[in-house]
């Protein structure tokens, strides 16, 4: 299968449910991997490819919610669908507040499960796209020379070339050339777009 095909990672200590759900998803055309516990999942190290996690809340070992926190902080941001034999409202609320895609209860209807998985894939895909875009921007920014960095910082404040030249102690013509290079390297056509990129880079770096 194409490595880009998203995988549903089923993490549940109940063997028959793991088996049954795996069967169902495969029969529906999804790629599935199953694990008896959260630690097994983490050890397997498949968390970087596209996909989502179907996680049983009450499990020995890593409690479902703890796992979620661990996963989220460990730079793994696969979307998580919680599933449980108990429909416990406080736990569900906590899970959803912490960013879970959904909270399902056993026994789970096929369509409900599929909707949640598809939703999770969409979220995962859009996050990956965002991340990729950000990485691209970072790369572009990194490709600027130190001098260009300085000019960049000035341009996004809205200053004119003349002012920037005075500020940086260079000729206006030099500044104009720098500006053109920056626009090209950053693949933008306007200062407004440049500002937008700067905001995004700044926001990403403070997270």
């Amino acid at each position: 299968m194409n490595p880009a095909t998203p995988i549903v990672h089923v993490v549940d200590d109940d063997e028959s449910f793991r088996l049954a759900v795996g069967r169902l998803l495969r029969a529906d055309g999804y790629r599935v991997q199953t694990y008896p516990s959260g630690s097994d999942f983490l050890i397997a190290g498949c968390r970087h490819g596209p996909g989502c996690v179907l996680l049983d809340v009450k499990m020995p070992g890593s409690d479902g919610l703890e796992l979620q926190t661990a996963l989220a902080s460990g730079e793994l941001s696969l979307p998580i669908i919680f599933i449980s034999g108990r429909s416990n409202i406080p736990i569900a609320v906590r899970a959803l507040k912490a960013g879970a895609v959904d909270f399902l209860t056993k026994p789970v209807r096929r369509q409900v499960l599929l909707n949640a998985v598809n939703q999770a894939f969409v979220e995962d895909a859009s996050r990956r796209a965002r991340d990729e875009e950000l990485a691209g921007l970072r790369a572009c920014y990194a490709s600027l020379s130190p001098r260009e960095h300085d000019v960049f910082a000035q341009v996004i404040t809205g200053r004119l070339n003349k002012q920037i030249a005075a500020e940086l102690g260079a000729s206006e013509r030099t500044i104009k050339a720098h500006r053109a290079h920056i626009m090209e390297k950053m693949r933008v056509n306007s200062v407004a777009e440049l500002v937008h990129i700067a905001d995004r880079l700044l926001a990403a770096s403070t997270q």
């Binding site: 028959s16 049954a20 069967r23 029969a27 034999g85 108990r86 026994p107």
Partner: protein, 443 residues
């Protein structure tokens, strides 16, 4: 000759005069017997009167003191009563209140005497109180009642009163007397007990249902997903027959697993630390009836006890038996919710059942059990109530098993239903198991 012969003539005349008087009494007596008798008698009587007057005054003083002391003693008794004592007229005007009354009502004697006590009672109780007073006039016997009173500061308290008319020598009623207690604490305890009964019943069952649900949802979840998977596999071309067979095998396995879980839970419920000792059924039943009394009163249900005397003790877990009886009674009350308020009757009965068993039963006159539901009524999770969880009677059956007894339900010939719990007596369980029909102890 007399010695006075030597005295002068005047003196001699005086002396002879006196002599005459003194020694002529006999003559006076002969001449004026009545006058003299009267005078002497009068003198005597006067002396007597004076003396007795003095004696009387002394006695009266002692009596008064004794009376004062006695009154003081009785007043102390009344005033130091922990109970409230009051006297009132037919229009509820207070004519006397003791110290406890003042204290419990939070008002001074001055504020109370002359006031109509009906003013101190919340309006919803006025009718009952006034009816009691008018009954006292006609019935001339003590009447008990309970009602709330208003305390200064807006708080309310509960009082229990025993009122009776005070009849004077002519047989007319001039005043009424009441002896009362503050039962606020008791009422609060009743309320708490009632709440506790409800919430613990619900909490216990609620928790049971939650954990039962969770346990069973695991195999159920697997079964559903397997069934969904099989459906999809059936549509594949070529049809993966072997895999479908495996799916079906798994479904069967999970079904058995679910069944096993239910068995485990029922076993757990029935084995709940049953402590089998000799138990007096009547005493056990009396306790439950008392516990449920206030609830019954609030729901306008009359509970009649029909306890057979001298039932031999049964071998059982007192708490579990009480739970069963309580459940029967509460179910009975639920069944009568739709009946009109003065029709609701529950009869709690204890009786001997055959040579070696005893039985307690609860009959109501509610809506009865629908005929088609009757065979299933003890099943787990079976309920005819909208909000019911269907575990009460199933647990009852488990308890019956533990006690080597049985539980049954039937509709009454008239209205309502009867639930019975039968179990062996302690004697029967101790001795060797005897075949039915065999006499015991050679009798």
């Amino acid at each position: 000759m007399k010695p006075s012969d030597n005295k002068p003539v005047a003196e001699r005349k005086l002396i002879s005069r006196i002599d005459e008087l003194l020694f002529s009494k006999a003559d006076l007596w002969k001449d004026h017997p009545i006058v003299i008798t009267t005078v002497v008698l009068a003198a005597l009587v006067q002396c007597g009167l004076l003396t007795s007057l003095r004696i009387n005054r002394a006695r009266r003083r002692r009596t008064e003191q004794a009376l004062l002391a006695s009154e003081e003693r009785y007043r102390n008794v009344v005033e130091s009563q922990p109970d409230m004592v009051c006297r009132f007229l037919a229009d509820t005007t207070l004519t006397f209140v003791n110290e406890a009354y003042c204290r419990f009502m939070g008002r001074s004697r001055k504020e109370l005497i002359g006031r109509k006590f009906v003013e101190l009672i919340p309006p919803q109780w006025h009718r009952q109180v006034l009816e009691t007073v008018s009954s006292l006039i006609s019935k001339r016997e003590a009447i008990h009642e309970e009602h709330e009173v208003l305390l200064p500061g807006g708080r309310a308290a509960w009082h229990h009163w025993e009122n009776y008319p005070i009849v004077n020598q002519d047989g007319a009623v001039q005043e009424y007397q009441g002896i009362g207690q503050d039962i606020t604490t008791r009422k609060r305890m009743e309320e708490l007990t009632r709440d506790l009964m409800h919430s613990s019943r619900l909490t216990l069952l609620g928790e049971l249902t939650a954990s039962i649900g969770h346990e069973i949802n695991q195999p159920l979840g697997a079964i559903l997903s397997n069934a969904d998977a099989a459906e999809l596999l059936l549509e594949q071309d070529p049809m993966p027959v072997d895999e479908i067979r495996r799916v079906i095998a798994d479904i069967r396995k999970d079904d058995l697993r679910a069944n096993e879980i239910i068995h485990r839970i029922r076993a757990f419920l029935s084995k709940r630390e049953a402590n089998l000792v000799p138990v007096d059924l009547n005493e056990m039943a009396r306790d439950v009836v008392q516990l449920v009394e206030s609830e019954a009163r609030e729901r306008k249900v009359v509970i009649e006890a029909d306890f057979t005397r001298g039932i031999p003790p049964v071998l059982g877990d007192r708490v579990q038996l009480q739970q069963v009886l309580l459940n029967f009674i509460l179910n009975g009350m639920d069944a009568m919710d739709a009946a009109s308020a003065n029709q609701r009757r529950i009869i709690v009965k204890t009786a001997v059942f055959g040579p070696e068993m005893a039985q307690f039963s609860v009959s109501d006159n509610g809506h009865g059990i629908p005929k088609d539901k009757l065979p299933r009524i003890f099943e787990s999770f079976f309920t005819t109530k909208k909000e019911g969880m269907g575990l009460g009677l199933a647990i009852t059956e488990s308890i019956a098993e533990v006690h080597r007894g049985s539980v049954s339900a039937e509709n009454n010939p008239g209205k309502g239903a009867t639930f019975r719990f039968t179990l062996p007596t302690a004697h029967a369980s101790n001795g060797e198991r005897q075949a039915p029909g065999m006499a015991s102890n050679g009798e």
